[in-house]
Symmetry: C2
Subunit: 383 residues, 2 copies
């Protein structure tokens, strides 16, 4: 809880709700008759309406990217280090929009909401959503906000993939695309980790086939395991060594299954605290959306052909110690953009934080973002 | 099941049981009044009794390293590619001993055995065992077999760590030490993966605090998850890409939680088949033994000082794509041996199989083993 809001914060923020009564046909074949998206905005839309930026969140992220919901909030939004007055995504210059993905559990319509057709919570009946569906819903949100074109669509990890899908699906709706710590599609190893996480949830007896709400319970153990595993893949081996090493919680070995090493304590804490703020059905859907993401698939597995559809200019950023979506994976995106004759800027940022680096205020990383944002602003002024 | 036993196989093998009535004081502080070790031998002990080799197994391994238990056995022992007449560990020249670690579930005394003090199965009451304890028990086995000194103690992964512990704890009981795909101790990331595996088992309602035998059940889901996760860390990202890519089991996406990608099918198979052949309590103990392994700890965290105790010559082998125990970790062992002025041969083998490479008949790898074994044989002849 901040004693007072820092001067470079966007301050107290009130999330808003957008209701869409027009049905949406999802990629999986199902139709949602109506849905809502929760979103936040920071900064002001200018009179030319050309300074709007869309932020896309990662797997377990949400719309609350910057500022505080109340003076009691312990931590600001998840990308507060980058969003605010004078920060890389400068709210004195840009109008920033951040929405929670469809299927989420933070305010947008998702599995824990009531299904109007049955009067019960959706649970496992909530349809599978894809990155493409999210882009469609965000495009409607864009219209809803009176915006014709984003100055940039920006995201890290799954959010970066979403930005790429935006550039392909709505080529003239964005001028710039930021794909940070992303990949053109998941590897077998990536899918493998997701599958272990899913099996942990699905096999938890408290999951009740996804109808756990009606049993007044949650699949705590499964969701905890999924999150613990996720955290290992978000950090680098080096970062974990620096952070925990082999430090013992009690100073000596206990020869038991209670926490012995600090890293165990950290992972258990991350796992248990996640259970209180995330929905297991949403987690399943999000991992599936990751697995399914493959924009080249619609173009005969040709990523170059897919990206040739894009009109945006690209900023691709990778982090040296990221082994979830390594620099080599960003390299695949860059190579395909070059082959598609699309404008691309690429930065490989030295960082030992692993995949999580995209959330950190690393100096060179933020300088790259600032420099690129200044370019966008100049282009806007020249137009 | 082999139609006929291959000519370069050690053939049909009968495991033997060694009973030790002398109590053993374990590192954890507990004493086992008696225990048994199951082991196999291949080849003949020579008249000088100087051609004996000890093979140490990995986390989920066992004593059955080569040959067949019966003509019905589908696959030979786990290191059959390296052990046999004319193979790198040539049974025409060496007498090879392979035992199941104490606490195991393949014939050596372990949690699924009856506790003579209670008449019930040990379950969670089986004491914690360490790599050091295994070395002590194997030293007794050595005496039991009438061997004074091993020509070599050899192991991969956890087995390689065991070989290092042998060299430190019984310096004059081995002439050579092979540490293959090993590490001087686990990193925080390694411990993190083990902890997720343990939590999967411990949190399974069928675990019953380790007393699942009495409930006539097994913690299937937990053990399955642990094994699935293990398999991801045994393979490299590249190996998984080569093996599965993003191939779909049914040729198209199903938008459901049944198997969609081949890699999911593989992991589920590995997970479910493991449950039928491995004990959950043993799995917990083995992961803890891995976490605890830290020979430097007894020497003020000084690995050089620990290795200065050793008299053996070392062969250290690492595999380029092994990210569980990477070449950098083997490099730490090599550096400490050099600093301790101990004889060391090091080979980094180009292989895309990940950690599992140590089990594969990779040409350069096997040539290195052959060359080193020829050296051992020549030294034996010269002595």
């Amino acid at each position: 809880m901040p004693e007072q809001i820092p001067a470079d914060s966007v301050g107290l923020i009130e999330p808003r709700q957008a209701v869409f009564e027009e049905p949406i046909d999802l990629v999986c074949g199902h139709t949602l008759p109506r849905y809502e998206l929760v979103y936040e905005t920071y900064g002001q839309l200018n009179s030319r309406r050309d300074n709007a930026i869309l932020i896309c969140h990662a797997l377990s992220g949400h719309h609350h990217a910057a500022g505080y919901h109340s003076m009691d909030e312990r931590k600001p939004g998840w990308w507060d280090s980058a969003i605010g007055p004078g920060k890389p995504f400068d709210t004195n210059r840009f109008f920033i929009v951040s929405s929670n993905n469809l299927g989420g559990c933070n305010g947008s319509t998702g599995p824990s909401d009531l299904n109007p057709e049955t009067g019960r919570r959706y649970g496992p009946d909530f349809p599978f959503v894809t990155v493409k569906d999210w882009v469609t819903t965000q495009h409607r949100l864009m219209r809803h906000l009176g915006i014709d074109q984003w100055a940039a669509v920006i995201g890290g990890s799954l959010g970066g993939m979403q930005a790429i899908q935006w550039a392909i699906d709505y080529p003239d709706a964005l001028r710039h695309c930021f794909a940070i710590a992303a990949a053109p599609r998941l590897s077998a190893q990536n899918i493998g980790f997701n599958e272990v996480a899913r099996q942990a949830i699905l096999s938890d007896p408290e999951f009740h086939g996804g109808h756990f709400y009606e049993h007044d319970t949650v699949p705590r153990r499964g969701l905890m395991l999924a999150r613990m595993l996720g955290h290992i893949t978000y950090l680098s081996d080096d970062a974990m060594r620096a952070k925990f090493g082999r430090e013992l919680k009690q100073g000596r070995l206990g020869y038991g299954f209670d926490v012995e090493f600090q890293v165990e304590s950290y992972l258990r804490y991350q796992g248990t605290s996640f259970v209180d703020r995330f929905d297991a059905n949403t987690y399943l859907l999000m991992t599936k959306a990751l697995d399914y993401f493959d924009p080249a698939a619609e173009f005969n597995d040709n990523l170059v052909a897919a990206l040739r559809r894009a009109q945006a200019k690209f900023l691709v950023i990778a982090f040296t110690s990221d082994w979830r979506f390594s620099p080599a994976r960003s390299g695949e995106i860059v190579q395909a953009l070059v082959d598609a004759r699309r404008a691309v800027t690429y930065a490989e940022v030295e960082a030992n934080h692993g995949h999580d680096a995209f959330l950190m205020p690393i100096t060179y990383y933020h300088e790259v973002l600032r420099a690129y944002m200044a370019r966008i602003e100049q282009e806007g002024a020249a137009a």
